[in-house]
C-alpha cells in the first residue's frame, strides 16, 4: 500500500507554497512514497517513555545583555529585495479583490 497518494502530495505542495506541475506530481508521488516507507521505520522503535531530543546543546533561555549595537541601515536591508517602494519592501496585494 502506498504511504502517500498523488492527491496528498498535491495538497502538501499547496501548503508548502509550491506551484508544482502535473509532471512533478507524477514524479514526486512515487519518489516520496519510497522515501516515506523507508523513514517510517522510526515507528519500529518502542519509545513511549523516551523524552524527545530537539538538539544536542543543553542550553536553554540563552539571552544577551541589552546593549545597543549597530545594525543594518534601511538601504542595506532593502538592497536585495525584488521590489522596493518608498523605503519599504513592496509586496503583491494580500487581500482578494472585492467582487
Amino acid at each position: 500500500m502506498a504511504a502517500i497518494s498523488r492527491e496528498e502530495v498535491a495538497h502538501l505542495a499547496r501548503l508548502s507554497r509550491l506551484a508544482v506541475t502535473e509532471e512533478e506530481l507524477d514524479l514526486f508521488a512515487g519518489q516520496l512514497d519510497v522515501i516515506l516507507q523507508a523513514v517510517a521505520r522510526v515507528g519500529e522503535v518502542v519509545a513511549e517513555d523516551i523524552p524527545p531530543t530537539s538538539h544536542s546543546v543543553p542550553l536553554t533561555n540563552v539571552l544577551r545583555d541589552d546593549i545597543e549595537v549597530p545594525c543594518l541601515t534601511a538601504d542595506e536591508a532593502l538592497a536585495g529585495a525584488p521590489d522596493v517602494e518608498e523605503g519599504r519592501f513592496r509586496v503583491p496585494r494580500i487581500l482578494e479583490e472585492e467582487v
Binding site: 509550491l18 523513514v39 517510517a40 524527545p52
Partner: protein, 492 residues
C-alpha cells in the same frame, strides 16, 4: 620555490611568515590555478579575484610593518556558497538566491578575515546543502579531480574538489548529515565536522538548524586543525553556540603525527559491519585499522543498536527543519520574485516564485517536512524521530564509556559516476549511512584518507565525544602519518 599550489596551508603560512613568499604571490598562484582548471572541475561558483588580491596585499603590508599576524595569515581559502559573505554573491546553490549580495558576513567569515585568511571565492554545493553528490546544484555539478566522470561528494563537493584540484589549500564546509566528511572521503581529502555548537551558525543559510555545523576542509590533518582553531569559538549571535573554550586541536594533531597511540581505544560499531559497504571500501578501512593498531591503539567492538534508525530519523528531522527554514524564501526580502504582474495575489506569487526558484530535491524535502510536521502525522514521524535521536545519543554515551573514539568507513562506496543515483533519491541518501548518527548526537567527527579502492579514495571516519574534538585530530593525524596523503593524477 616549489609550486605554491602544492604546498600545505602550514607550509604556505611559514613561507609567508619568513618572507620566502608573499601573500600576493600565493594568492595569484591559486587564482591562476583556478583559471587553468576550474572549467573542468567547476569547484567555484564565484571567484573574487579582486577581493582576494586586496586581502593578500593587506597581509603583505601588515607583515612589512611588523604587525603580529595569525598562524594562517595570507593563506587562501575557499568558502562554501551557503556561508554569507558581505558584498560577495551567495546563492546556496539555488536559483532563488541568484545574484544576491549579502549585507553582512557570517561569524566564521569575520573570524577568517580577522586571522588574515584570503578568501578566493565561493564553492559549489547541492542546493541548500541538500544532497550527497553536488549534482543538485542549480548551477551544474562539480567534477571529481580523481575522475571527472564521477561525483565529488556532497553537499560540499566544491570545497572538497577545490582541494583535490589544488585550487585552494583550505576550504570551509558545512556538515548537516555528512556534507563535509563524505566529500572529503571521495576526493581523498580531510574534512572535519566540529562539535555542534563549537562553530557558529550565524550567517549560514539555514537548512536544518539543530544539525548544521560549519567546519574545515584541507589536504592534511594539521591544516584542518589550524583552520578549525580559527573558525571555532563561542558566538553570542548563535544561541546554540557553546560558551566553552575550544580544545587544543592543533596541539592534538601534532601529537598524533608523532605516531604513538598507545592506550587509545578505538570502538568498532558492530551494527555498521557488513551493511552496504563495498568490498574495496571495507578492505581499505581494515588496512587503516591495522595501521592504527600498529601504532599502539586497541580495537574494541561496541554495540550501538539504535544506529540502524539514524538514517530514517535524519530524513524526517532534516526535512522538517528545512521546510520551516525555507519558508523565508517568499520573494519579498531578497532573491527571486516570479509572476508579480500586478494582478496576482501574494500567495500565488509566492508559490510561483518558490516553484521556479527551488530544484527537485529541495521541493521533495520541503514536502516531506510539511507532511512530517502536519497534525495527525507529527507524533508518528517528527515526534518519533526526536525520540530515536535520544536513543542514538544514549548509544554514543554508552560507547564512549568503553572507548575513546568510534571508527568506521566514512561512506559505504567510493565516488560514483555522475547521474547514477539522481533518479532514485533514496539511493542518494544511503551515501550518508555512516556519517549521520554523529550529527544526531552532536559530537565531532573527521574523515581522513585511508587508501584506495579501484584507484579511488576511501575515507576513514573517527567520531569523538561532544567537545573532545582534539581526540579525533590526534587519531586522524596518527593515521595520516602511517598511510600518507593521497594525490590524484594531473587533470586530463
Amino acid at each position: 620555490m616549489s609550486d605554491l599550489t602544492r604546498m600545505s596551508a602550514a607550509q604556505l603560512a611559514a613561507a609567508i611568515a619568513s618572507g620566502e613568499a608573499s601573500a600576493t604571490e600565493v594568492t595569484n598562484a591559486h587564482l591562476e590555478r583556478i583559471a587553468a582548471v576550474d572549467d573542468r572541475v567547476h569547484a567555484f561558483l564565484h571567484v573574487d579575484a579582486e577581493g582576494a588580491r586586496a586581502a593578500a596585499l593587506d597581509v603583505d603590508e601588515r607583515r612589512s610593518a611588523g604587525e603580529p599576524l595569525g598562524p594562517l595569515a595570507g593563506v587562501p581559502v575557499g568558502v562554501k556558497d551557503i556561508v554569507v559573505t558581505r558584498g560577495v554573491p551567495t546563492t546556496a546553490g539555488s536559483k532563488i538566491l541568484e545574484g544576491w549580495r549579502p549585507p553582512y558576513d557570517a561569524t566564521i567569515v569575520e573570524r577568517m578575515r580577522a586571522a588574515g585568511l584570503v578568501m578566493l571565492g565561493k564553492t559549489n554545493l547541492d542546493e541548500f546543502a541538500m544532497g550527497s553528490s553536488t549534482e543538485y546544484s542549480a548551477y551544474g555539478p562539480t567534477y571529481n579531480p580523481w575522475d571527472l566522470g564521477r561525483i565529488p561528494g556532497g553537499s560540499g563537493g566544491g570545497s572538497a574538489a577545490a582541494l583535490a584540484a589544488y585550487e585552494a589549500p583550505l576550504t570551509v564546509g558545512t556538515d548537516t548529515g555528512g556534507s563535509i566528511r563524505q566529500p572529503g572521503a571521495v576526493t581523498g581529502t580531510v574534512g572535519a565536522k566540529p562539535t555542534y555548537g563549537g562553530t557558529s551558525r550565524y550567517g549560514l543559510v539555514a537548512f536544518s538548524s539543530s544539525l548544521d555545523t560549519p567546519g574545515p576542509c584541507a589536504r592534511t590533518v594539521e591544516d584542518a586543525a589550524l583552520l578549525h582553531a580559527v573558525l571555532a569559538g563561542h558566538d553570542p549571535r548563535d544561541s546554540t553556540s557553546i560558551p566553552q573554550p575550544v580544545p587544543d586541536v592543533v596541539g592534538a594533531a601534532r601529537q598524533g603525527a608523532t605516531g604513538d597511540l598507545t592506550g587509545v581505544r578505538l570502538g568498532l560499531v558492530r551494527e555498521f559491519g557488513g551493511e552496504g559497504a563495498e568490498a574495496g571500501v571495507t578492505a581499505a578501512f581494515r588496512d587503516g585499522l591495522d595501521a592504527l593498531t600498529k601504532l599502539g591503539a586497541e580495537v574494541v567492538e561496541v554495540s550501538c543498536p539504535n544506529f540502524q534508525y539514524a538514517l530514517p530519523a535524519y530524513y524526517l528531522i532534516a526535512p522538517s527543519e528545512c521546510s520551516s527554514n525555507l519558508a523565508r524564501f517568499d520573494g519579498v526580502r531578497y532573491g527571486l520574485r516570479v509572476g508579480d504582474d500586478g494582478n496576482r495575489a501574494l500567495e500565488e506569487v509566492m508559490s510561483l516564485t518558490r516553484e521556479a526558484g527551488f530544484g527537485p530535491e529541495v521541493k521533495r524535502r520541503v514536502i516531506i517536512g510539511t507532511y512530517a510536521l502536519s497534525s495527525g502525522y507529527y507524533d508518528a514521524y517528527y515526534g518519533q524521530a526526536q525520540k530515536v535521536r535520544t536513543l542514538i545519543t544514549r548509544d554514543f554515551t554508552a560507547a564512549f564509556e568503553r572507548v575513546d573514539v568510534l571508527v568506521s568507513p566514512t561512506t559505504p562506496f567510493v565516488a560514483f559516476p555522475l547521474g547514477s543515483r539522481t533518479s532514485d533519491p533514496y539511493q542518494m541518501y544511503l551515501a550518508d549511512l555512516y556519517t549521520i548518527p554523529v550529527n544526531l548526537y552532536g559530537g565531532p567527527a573527521i574523515s581522513v584518507p585511508c587508501g584506495l579502492s579501484e584507484g579511488l579514495p576511501v575515507g576513514f571516519q573517527i567520531m569523538a565525544p561532544t567537545l573532545a574534538d582534539d581526540r579525533m585530530y590526534r587519531v586522524a593525524a596518527a593515521l595520516e602519518s602511517a598511510v600518507g596523503t593521497l594525490t590524484p593524477g594531473e587533470l586530463s
